[in-house]
Amino acid sequence: MTDARQIPAIAERYDLDWRRYPNRWRRWRGRAGWCAALAGLLFVSYPLVTGDHRPFMARPLSAPHRLFEADCRRCHDRHGQPLLRLAGVAGAHSVSDQACQACHEQRCDDHHPQMLAHGGPASCMECHQEHRGRSVREVADTACVACHADLVLACRSDQTPHVRSQVVSWQKHPEFAGKRPKDSAATAGLLDELAQYDERRQRWRDRTALRFNHRVHLDPDGIPIPPDHPDYQGNHHLKRLECQDCHQPMVDGRAMQPIRFEQHCQPCHRLEFRFALAEDGPLPHGDIQLALGVLRDRLMRYLQRHPQEVDSEAVDRSVLPGPQPLTPTGEETPELRQARAWQWVERRWQELSGAVVSPSVLYAGEPGAEHRQLKTGCGYCHEVMPQQDRGSIGWQVTEPRMPARWMPMARFSHQSHQFVRCVDCHYDGQEGPGATESEDTADLLLPSREVCLRCHVSSGSRASSGSAPTRCVDCHQYHGRSYERIKQLASGNTY
């Protein structure tokens, strides 16, 4: 379109007093700009006035710390740290260790303190990241790998690592110690105390001095139980046991409670005598000296109820204190009768105490019943060793020393894994028997790393969809860990 202006002359076309014609767009822009600035200042100053600083929080706090999320100063006691970080100052964190330790007792250097060359991380914030919307316990693998990538460098020169070095991720994690061949004395140090290595089979074996047959107890057809068992139902005297009948997790759902004779074994394997000695109930379990003392006491009480038993007893006069065994009327003196009774008790006690280890003497149930198959007696389960220097008994029960935790360096929640069957994870070796087929106590029915890898697939916190977590801290704990502490965990002295 051509320009055909009707008023070409500028002087006629425009008003030279341009101030009369302000730009209304610019004017409204200015007003709106001032309003926006005012709105922004109001938005920013409102939290400052009210003291609720949550709007300034970049990302949500972890659940426990939300108690004081309105007061940033509760934790953030150092200011200007981001500028120092930008300048390359290492360890510039806005929260000091003192702020953390106002509530928490853990310290940076309580992880194998005698071993680390540099004493561990510089501050709590090196590992624990807050404002991530997740628990501060979920430490990134990089924090662990900083040392565990090369423990030889991280450890002091006079210390030897107890675990494999150069672990940088779950994918590079070595096979669990109990499932891999014995490699070195250093890394097998703790396991040597719990198990013994079978060089021929290239496999660790449980050295617990106890006999237990998983296959018999987990027979799918059931095992016989005595009539006074809580689960006995008339003629139906077979009970099918499940793993969790004996292996029950702790209250926190993590490790398993220790197996206790009174709770798990005694309902079937009672330490009872047959015949009349069974009247006073089973013998106590756990202390052989106590059990034998109780046995002597029962023999004496039995004799009080059945004095005629003494009449058939031949008297060894050499042990009698007095010279006259008979009264002038030809009757036994009280001393003689007491000595005869004492000798009867001692003789029976000698017989029984030597036979306590035998399944034929102690058993549960009545003769003739099918549940007579239930054997008992110390030697049926325990390792009984002859020991001549222990007075008149002549034998000793080896302490079982059943480890409370086989993998004390790891944290594992049985509760979180309750959707899988026990036998899916617990078996001996790669091709060894599973928990239900194991007949030998020495079978180490521990899961291997391959079992974990079925679900815990990828590495790092950014697990691919469908994979269970695979961070170091999902299985391992940093604080309060020393070799002595781990040994305590394994022995069950602490939890």
């Binding site: 076309r13 730009n23 970049a58 916190s461």
Partner: protein
């Protein structure tokens, strides 16, 4: 046209800077288990750079108010920087926050930033293409602020044109002509001009569409006028046409600058929120 071949260097530099920033971000995100965090050295660097570019973009409006400060660079250079560095600030801010929304203040800041960013892109598109449309549709452009004065001048010219030919511009009383002999075309033209044309020549915010109808009416009037009056009607047609162009110019100018009513105030709000975010981040 804002972006032309002279911007090739700016565009290339922006793409190179974006590529370098992307590589740095990718490496940092790969190395960090939680990705790049705003408080990490890399995240802080991105935040500082993004904020600097935002400040530079905001300083453009202040530079326009200081035309004599030529040592700061030409307005054209500043406009190019405003466009390209403003565009670059978006990815840098996203790298700073690690593509996360953050807390309430950060969410508000990011939301405002995106409003500024998108309104800027829309404004750039409008400024890129609408001036060409304007020059095609409105060859008789006027200084925008002086459009009312130009309209007034057109009105005065039309008044003079009609008065010169018809003798007076006094508003006559309307009488239906009784016969053809009593019909006075000058009187009819004055009456039509005063009732239909003159009011529309003056400045108002009405739309430009009804000027087309007015021109059709003027054509009808022209055919009803004797030959000696038809040139007057033709000139009136030209004046109405120019008035219509001025109306188009006003409308297109509204499109060209209306987006700034959103872009500028929200930019101010962004600077306030970003400053608050920076202070809170450094303090805590």
């Amino acid at each position: 046209m804002l972006v032309d071949r002279s911007h090739f260097g700016w565009g290339l530099a922006t793409l190179v800077a974006l590529g370098i920033a992307s590589v740095i971000y990718g490496v940092a995100a790969y190395r960090s288990p939680d990705g790049v965090l705003g408080g990490s050295p890399v995240g802080l660097t991105f935040g500082l750079l993004g904020s600097a570019l935002m400040l530079y973009a905001g300083a453009f409006s202040w530079k326009k108010r200081l035309p004599r400060w030529t040592w700061l660079g030409s307005a054209r250079t500043w406009m190019a920087g405003h466009i390209w560095l403003g565009l670059l600030s978006g990815p840098l801010i996203l790298f700073h926050c690690g593509f996360r929304w953050g807390g309430m203040l950060e969410q508000a800041t990011l939301a405002v930033f995106f409003v500024v960013y998108i309104s800027g892109i829309v404004g750039l598109a409008l400024q890129q293409f609408l001036p060409r449309v304007l020059s095609n549709v409105v060859p008789a452009q006027a200084i925008y602020e002086q459009i009312p004065a130009a309209c007034e001048a057109l009105c005065k010219k039309a008044d003079a044109l009609v008065a010169a030919r018809c003798g007076t511009l006094a508003v006559p009383e309307w009488h239906e002509p009784k016969d053809a002999a009593s019909y006075q075309p000058e009187r009819a033209l004055v009456e039509f001009y005063l009732h239909e044309v003159r009011g529309r020549l003056r400045w108002s915010d009405r739309g430009a569409g009804h000027y087309g109808q007015l021109r059709l009416k003027l054509l009808e009037v022209k055919h009803a006028m004797p030959d000696d009056l038809q040139p007057v009607v033709d000139q009136l047609l030209d004046i109405v046409s120019e008035r219509q162009q001025l109306q188009w110019q006003s409308t297109i100018h509204g499109w060209l600058h209306g987006w700034l009513l959103l872009h500028v105030p929200v930019s101010v709000l962004l600077l306030v929120l970003a400053a608050a975010h920076a202070v809170a981040s450094v303090w805590y």
